[in-house]
């Protein structure tokens, strides 16, 4: 019945195919919601008209996802997930497979660019409060995508079986060793062996080409469905659905995604490809950041490289891990204590105060408690690194500002965001370098700033002086 009610498809161009095409579309539409999908997600999905530069990166992330999947399929045709053959098979692709080098560089450059566009996409969300009500689930699903992406990159990086592939995986899997009681067993279970070996390579390959991509695709679909349910945010952080044309019922400040944003995003893709092309064709290693020099040496389980660094997109978190030294624990404990005091003095609810004090006491006990009971700093390093990636999930509830967009937020919030960006970059840079005393100190200071941005957000966003949001979007 529902199908019968559907309007015939309006084809706006004339020609001999007109009748046949419209007939075909009607035939499909009576069996599959093709036109309603088209309308809901493209032709009649109303997006704010004032999207700026920062709004290109969502569609670009989708573009890179497709690029990675397509190039990945072709790489899989020649790659051998076998410790004895993996390295040589990659070189075979680079040398003997027609255009193999192009496919491989597209994939390796694409991996780094995936993170570049996703980080910019996330930063856009941070700036304009895209995680705020009613978009909490869009944000949470997005963060799940980010975690999957990290897993995907981590598993994929082992596959070329170079020295950095091998030792990077060794270092990261060994982190699980640090988990009290179950750690060592868990690490062996993950590797399938006592060291990273053929079994590890095989299972990482399975995760990289099947498990995680499936999850990624499903999550991306959910991300877009959730977004289209609530509608896109915009640089002003005001809801365009509040002001609608009384005749059509469409938001006055909205424009149909297709054709407006499809043509705009096409321009974005072309500009992206120009930047991407410059790196791919003229500097595919990108100074050792996209393809690490050491990774041109086949994996050697008996030869540990003097300096092991993960690829650049993991280095902020790697820095946090390395910053957590024995000396750092006292400051960490003091930080927890100060945070409990802050909650105790500013929150009226006695249950919250008691809970905070209890959690704080437990944390401090295991950080600086009696010898033998306090956990190894390495455990705390792993925990901090984990919290550093997961804390983004809480943003919708940490931000208490009356306005969404940075445009109308006050000087404290703007400074906090700027400091956060600086700390992310500094931690990232430090993570690529070897450790010195000064660098560790810097990493510790910026680790504090990194976490303060999130943990103090409920206070500074509320205390900050905001400007009133406009009724309608501005340019």
């Amino acid at each position: 019945m529902a199908a019968a009610e559907k309007q015939p498809v309006a084809i706006t161009w004339a020609g001999p195919l007109n009748g046949a095409l419209s007939g075909l579309l009607t035939w499909i539409d009576q069996r599959f919601p093709l036109m309603s999908l088209w309308r809901d997600h493209l032709a009649e999905y109303y997006a704010p008209k004032n999207f700026n530069f920062w709004y290109y990166f969502g569609s670009l992330a989708m573009f890179v996802l497709v690029l990675q999947i397509v190039t990945g399929i072709f790489l899989t045709m020649h790659y051998k997930p076998d410790a004895a053959q993996a390295f040589a098979s990659v070189e075979y692709i680079m040398r003997d497979v027609p255009a193999g080098w192009l496919i491989r560089y597209l994939h390796s450059t694409g991996a780094s660019f995936f993170f570049i566009v996703v980080y910019l996409h996330m930063f856009r969300g941070l700036m304009y409060g895209s995680y705020r009500k009613p978009r909490e689930l869009v944000w949470i699903i997005g963060m799940a995508i980010y975690l999957c992406l990290m897993a995907e990159a981590f598993f994929g990086y082992l596959l070329p079986w170079g020295q950095m592939s091998y030792w990077g995986a060794q270092v990261i899997v060994n982190l699980f060793d640090a988990i009290p009681w179950v750690g060592p067993t868990l690490a062996i279970w993950i590797r399938g062996d006592y060291v990273v070996a053929d079994a590890t390579l095989n299972r990482f390959f399975a995760f990289h080409v099947i498990a995680i991509p499936l999850l990624l695709l499903a999550l991306v679909a959910a991300h877009i469905m959730a977004l289209h349910e609530v509608g896109s945010n915009n640089p002003d952080g005001v809801e365009i659905k509040k002001v609608k044309d009384p005749k059509t019922g469409h938001p006055l400040d909205g424009i149909p995604f297709h054709p407006y944003y499809t043509v705009k995003d096409t321009l974005g893709v072309v500009v992206f490809l120009i930047v991407f092309g410059v790196i791919l064709f003229f500097m595919p290693e990108f100074g050792g950041y996209f393809l690490e020099y050491n990774n041109f040496i086949p994996a050697d389980p008996l030869k540990t490289p003097p300096h092991i660094a993960p690829v650049w997109y993991f280095t902020p978190f790697y820095s946090i891990l390395r910053a957590t030294t024995e000396d750092f624990m006292i400051y960490l404990a003091l930080g927890v204590a100060a945070y409990v005091v802050l909650i105790w003095r500013t929150v009226a609810d006695l249950r919250v105060r008691t809970a905070a004090a209890a959690v704080g006491a437990v944390l401090i006990f295991f950080m600086k408690g009696p010898e033998g009971l306090a956990l190894d700093p390495k455990v705390w390093g792993v925990a901090l690194m984990g919290v550093g990636t997961l804390i983004y999930f809480l943003l919708p509830w940490l931000d208490r500002s009356p306005v969404k967009s940075i445009r109308y937020k006050g000087p404290i919030t703007k400074t906090a965001l700027a400091l956060f960006v600086v700390s992310f970059f500094v931690l990232g840079y430090l993570g690529t370098l070897s450790v010195t005393e000064g660098r560790t100190l810097a990493a510790q200071v910026f680790t504090f700033i990194y976490f303060a941005f999130f943990l103090l957000m409920p206070w500074y966003t509320r205390a900050d002086k905001t400007r009133p949001e406009p009724e309608r979007v501005t340019w």
Binding site: R95, I255, L267, F281, F282, G288, Y293, F296
Partner: protein
């Protein structure tokens, strides 16, 4: 003659954080087929005995103008076919016993030796010119770029024998005649080889040119293709920009 050699001999400051690398001369071009052919010739004569290039096929040497028969007649000393990979017969277990470490495969050496200090080519160019006599080493050789390297100086008959001399130089600092003492280590050619220093440097440069090529044979094509792709994208940008402008002219 000797004075001239001293002047051209590279100055190396061996410090804790590593050596300053000499740059590969700028006139060494990946388009120079003669240089690449010479480099390949040196490689198969002096390197391939111990160092495989196991991801590289002999036939790929056609990239810089060699014919299949030229490759077969001049560059293959084993029973290998032109389509075969450039492997070696040495057993890595045995070579490990002989040298302490099996000689590494060199297909990708120019890529893996790149670092913050310089490109892989710079490293190789400095390394192959950095051998000096050191009686304390089992091979009798040491290297300024790769201290205590396991490899003896294979090209010594060509280059001759260098020694490492330490000189203390007083550099005036400030106005009151203060001096700062600098320890400089300098490679000095003691016994000339069959080549002059300039000839040897040129030969090493050609070999490095070949090693860079071998690290990524598709590099030249990659760069050429990149120029066309970017030109195409430039045209596409104009159309995409105009299309966007046309559609958006009514959005205010």
């Amino acid at each position: 003659m000797l004075a001239c050699l001293l002047l051209t001999a590279p100055l190396v400051a061996v410090a804790a954080e590593g050596v300053k690398l000499d740059r590969l001369p700028a006139d060494v071009s990946p388009h120079d087929a003669i240089s690449l052919q010479r480099g390949a010739h040196v490689y198969v004569n002096y390197c391939l005995g111990c160092h495989s290039a196991a991801y590289m096929r002999y036939e790929r040497l056609r990239d810089f103008g060699l014919t299949e028969s030229q490759i077969r007649d001049n560059l293959i000393f084993t029973g290998a076919k032109v389509g075969d990979l450039m492997k070696i017969a040495m057993d890595p277990k045995e070579s490990k016993e002989w040298f302490g470490a099996p000689p590494p495969d060199l297909t990708l050496i120019a890529r893996s030796r790149a670092s913050g200090a310089g490109s892989g080519a710079d490293w190789l160019y400095s390394y192959l010119r950095g051998f000096y006599r050191d009686p304390s080493r089992p091979t009798g050789w040491n290297n300024t770029v790769f201290p205590n390297v396991a490899m003896p100086h294979v090209l010594w008959q060509l280059q001759g024998e260098q020694v490492l001399r330490t000189e203390v130089r007083a550099i005036p600092r400030g106005s009151k005649g203060e001096v700062e003492k600098h320890e400089l280590q300098r490679l000095v050619l003691e016994k000339p080889g069959s080549m002059s220093a300039a000839e040897y440097d040129r030969m090493v440069a050609d070999l490095v040119n070949f090693l860079v090529y071998m690290g990524e044979p598709s590099r030249q094509f990659r760069i050429e293709l990149g120029i066309y792709v970017l030109m195409f994208l430039g045209v596409m940008f104009v159309f995409a920009y105009l299309l966007k402008k046309e559609y958006w002219k009514d959005v205010h």
